[in-house]
Structure formats: C-alpha cells, structure tokens
Symmetry: C2
Subunit: 344 residues, 2 copies
C-alpha cells in the first residue's frame, strides 16, 4: 500500500526541515542556506544575476499528465535558462510553493526529488524558500541567482545591425508535446478505459516535460571566444522573442524559414496533427533554447557546431522584422507567443 503522510502532520517547519535535510552546497559562494530569515551569498569580485519565474497549476502545467518529479525539475530549469541567457552561471535558487492539503508529504517529496535532480545536474544550491498552504491550486515561484564577470552579462538590447541571428537546438517540439498530451487528456476524460497512445512520441513529450537549459551552449561560446551581442531564452516562441530583440535593440531583421531548426520527430508530429511545423516553431512556447546575435566576423567560430543554427540577420529598424518563406515570400513577423492573460 502506498504511504500517504498528511502535510499538516509535519507542520510548516517540520516539512521544510524534512525536505531540505540532505542539501549539500556545490558553490563556495553559498555561505548560509535554508533555516534562517535569509540566505547569504559571497561574491569574490563578480556581479550577481537574479531572475524569478512563477508556475501556476492549470495555467502552466496540468498535474493530470505532469509527473511531480518532472515538474520540480522543469521549475528549476526554466529559471536557470534565464540566467544562462544573461551569459551568466547559475549558482543558487530559492523556491516558494503554495499547495493544498490534497497533496501528501510523499507527493511533495517527489516534486523535491526533481528540484534536487536539477540542482545536481546544474551544480546549483537550494538556499531558501517558503512553503505555504493554498485554497486551490499548486503554485511554484523560483528565484535563481547567478554570477558573471563584471560587465560580461549580455542584454537583449545590444544587437547590432548586420549581426547574425542564431538559435540553439531545435524549436516547436514542446508545443507539439503539449498538443499531444492535451489530445490524450481529452480522449481519456471521454473514455477512461482508453490508454494514452504516446508511442514514438518520446521526443516531443520529453521536450515538454523535461526541458534542459543550454549550459552547454554558454560553455561553447565562452571556450570559443564568442560573446553574443544580444541574447535571450526562447520561452514564448521564436517570433515573439525575435520581436523583443528587435524592439529592445531598435533594429529590424530578416528570418529565413528554411533555416529554422525543427526536429524530424516534431515535423512528423506536426503533420499528424495537421499543423504547420514552422508555425509551431514560431509561435509554440517552452523550448528554452537560446536566441542570440553575433557579429558576422564570428561566424567561422560556430559554423561547425550542429547545435547552433544561423537563422537570419539584423537590419536597420526601418526595414521591420520579416520572415522569408521557403517559397520566397516575405511576411511581417507577428508575435503570437503565449500570453498568460489571453482568454482561452
């Protein structure tokens, strides 16, 4: 029989103690962690980078098809992705959660297993947080702290005209994974006897449920002496993020449809669902890949990295932001990224 321990039996402090008792620090800068009013971080002449993200049940995730361990892992990763997107290295996180009594201690342990797995994978220290009750859904708020050598951080606003527009990995898969799981959820709700058909869909489902932050790309850029002129992570879809860089850098751009990296499994899945793979890459979200610009002179330094695609270039602002389709047509890029406040 599965054990089910009521959270109220431990109380808030007992619960935090229980969930954090095995923490070991990876970073010398982590001076003091969980258990006091605040945590303490040391610096050694670096700058601190800080970011925060909130994930809300029913908006950002559906517990019906999101294993809690994956949710814990992903919650950390999406924050680390923002730190890498600053050209910085993540070092610490704090995590606050609100949850209702319907969760057991065991369920929360599973969630924390994922949190610790991500901390381990990215060598990040959990140094604090808050655990509280909620009348309804599960809410997760994570703040990630990172470090960067003075003034080596990279903003969105500093791309230059003529710079090459680059993307890591491939795009659209997470959105297709979501489309698949939402479809299976509906089928299941209509007929609980039908088991979900996820065969051959590991790639797109994995990209949704267990994304990774591109630590490897930042390491590659550093080792090869490439400092992006502008950078951000792709969480709301490529078109929305490209428009951010254009707007903040006061530039236009040209994007080539044929250059947008799309995984073969994503392409197959898109066709199966009657969707355009390019549209999934442009407007789907949650890829957590990096979008960055580099001077043309740096092209030779990254051309051999198969994990990086050059997808276009930056232009003067008057030219606007356009995509050239495979058929040679030119369209204005419009933001159709995810809007948390859009009516469903």
């Amino acid at each position: 029989m599965e054990t089910r321990t009521d959270i109220s039996s431990l109380g808030e402090f007992g619960l935090i103690e229980h969930l954090t008792k095995n923490i070991e620090f990876s970073n010398a800068s982590s001076i003091l962690g969980v258990g006091d009013d605040a945590a303490v971080i040391d610096h050694f002449g670096k700058q601190t980078v800080i970011t925060t993200d909130m994930l809300v049940e029913g908006i950002h995730f559906d517990l019906m098809y999101t294993p809690l361990k994956h949710l814990g892992y992903k919650s950390v990763v999406v924050n680390l992705s923002d730190i890498y997107a600053m050209n910085a290295s993540p070092t610490q996180i704090t995590i606050s959660i609100a949850l209702s009594n319907r969760f057991s201690v065991e369920a929360l342990e599973e969630f924390y297993e994922g949190v610790y797995a991500a901390c381990e994978a990215y060598q990040v220290d959990l140094i604090g947080g808050d655990t509280t009750s909620s009348k309804s859904g599960f809410v997760i708020s994570i703040t990630a702290v990172g470090e960067v050598a003075p003034d080596q951080f990279v903003q969105r606003s500093t791309a230059q005209k003529g710079d090459l527009l680059c993307v890591s990995g491939d795009l659209g898969a997470a959105f297709l994974g979501l489309t698949l799981l939402e479809r299976e959820r509906k089928i299941y709700l209509e007929n609980p006897k039908i088991q979900p058909d996820l065969e051959n869909e590991q790639y797109i489902v994995g990209r949704l449920l267990k994304p990774e932050a591109r630590k490897d790309i930042i390491a590659f850029l550093t080792v090869n002496g490439i400092r992006p002129t502008a950078m951000m992570d792709i969480s709301d879809g490529l078109s929305s993020e490209i428009l951010h860089i254009c707007k903040k850098s006061e530039l236009g751009c040209v994007l080539y449809e044929e250059k947008i990296p799309i995984h073969e499994d994503s392409r197959q899945a898109a066709f199966k669902f009657g969707l355009d793979p390019t549209a999934c890459a442009l407007s789907g979200g949650e890829d957590y890949e990096l979008l960055f610009t580099i001077p043309q002179a740096d092209y030779d330094k990254l051309v051999l990295n198969e994990q990086i695609s050059v997808v276009g270039y930056m232009t003067e602002p008057e030219a606007g932001a356009h995509i050239i389709t495979k058929g040679g047509n030119k369209f204005k890029i419009t933001a159709q990224g995810w809007n948390a406040f859009k009516e469903p």
Copy 2:
C-alpha cells in the same frame, strides 16, 4: 465612473511595462533591472543576503478588508523584515504575482502603488519579476536581496547562555486587528447594511494592514555598537520564535510575562474580545518586530531605548524554555504560532 481596463488588453509584456515604467534606482548596486531575462547586481566587497516569501489569497490575506495598496506595501515589508533580521540592509526586490481576470489593470496599479511606496520608504529597488494568470486566487511571491559587511550577518543559532532576550516595539496588535476585521466581516456577511465599527481601533488595524520593518532598530544597534548574538523577526508569534532561537542555539530560556511589551490599545481590544493580551502576544502572528539576544555587558547601551524591551535571558539547554507569569508561576513555552497547514 470608475475606469476598468482589462488586463488581457495589455498582455503580459504591456502590463509589466505599464507597471514598471517609472522605476528609478536608489542603490548603486542595481546595475540592470526589469526587462531582460534577469537583473544584475554589483557588490563592492559585501555579502548578499536573500529571502523569499509567498502570500496567498484566502490564507494570508482577505481582499474583503485588505486594500490592495496596503497589500502591496505589506508584501514588500514582510520580506524586508527578514533582511533586517539578518542584520543586513535590503537593496533590491523581485516580485512575482499570479492573478485572475477578475482584477483590472487599475486594481493592479493600486497594488503596485503600495509596492512602490514601500520601495521608496526603505530605499529598495524593484529589479524584476513575473506576472502571470491564475485560475482562482491572487498569489504574491517576493524575493528580497540585501547586503551586509562580510560575516556581519546574524543567525538564529548563535545565542549564548546568559544573553539577554530582547524584543522591539510591541506584540499582539496585528492578531487583534485580524480578530476585529474577521468579526466585522462575519457581521457584514450576515447583514450587509451594518457598517463596520472600527472606531478607536486604528492602532490594531494599522498594525495588521500596514506593518513596518524595523530598519530603525538595526540602525540603532549599529550606531550604538551592539551586534546581537542571535536575531530573527517575529512573524509567527513570540513563543514560536523564542523556541526557534532556543532550538537552533541549543539553549533554554526564561521569559517574564510582565516584560512582554503590549500596547495599551491592544490590551483594551483583547479585553473587549475576551482574550488574554499575553496569549495574543505569544501566539498571535504578523508583528514583524525583531527578537534578538545581546551579551549582558551591552545592556547599558540599549536600556534607554523605549522601543526595545528586555523580556528574559538564555539559559543552559537542560533548563528548557519557560515563561514566569505575573502571578509567579512557571510554565513551559509551547509553540502555538501560525501553521499554514493546520486545519482551520
């Protein structure tokens, strides 16, 4: 007619831009703020202190009697209180909120007015955050960053035997304010024609709805060369916090009931509600006063400060934690502080 702008009409980015457009930094350490993947903080040979707190509608606040501006102010203050409790100075905050469409842009502006008022009052910079949708309640998560000279932070675990136990301000008022507002809420729900009777209750209501963090006490201790041996803020009631210090410092203590600072208005309110004022101070929460220990040798340095009360002293651990009542009886101190997971 009151204006009501739908949040969805601005979208997530428009909303953030709208709410953060007037930010001006107070701290030289704030290098980069809202608008990129992460914020950047510089250090100049100090240590960074970081804390996070989550406030959930229906658990931590009731919008029926909590004005949004006060809620914004309080959300910031409760986090700053944790930074001061480390003997550090707050410098930056990030703020994440989840809210449903029933909120208008104007309502959110009111909330942010309170956030900015607190930033202004405590000279803290808002440097980032996340704004997202919620299916039900309003959830606020704030992370505060502060700085402290290397190794000058004060933990809970470092009190010494014989140290004096000190408390700032007065206790129990916020709990009494909550009791009053809950009573008025019930009366109102039963008969909406009856207007709330809050006359002569400004003090206790104010302590609940607009608490302040004790920046002044930290400044006083610094100026007078007093470094507490241990310190924490009182958010869950005096008894619960004293037990934290005892447990973490591996000590016992003696607390004198007659020394516990209680405001005359709190005493009156307690009698009106048939409550014991001492019980309100011991077990009520949300006072956001400081609890700290000092060596006996430092007594003369703070005896003239009317905002600080010496309420007891630390003993060997075997003696346990006890309170001596006004009648001369000795009782074990038990934690009856607020537990977010306790069944109501």
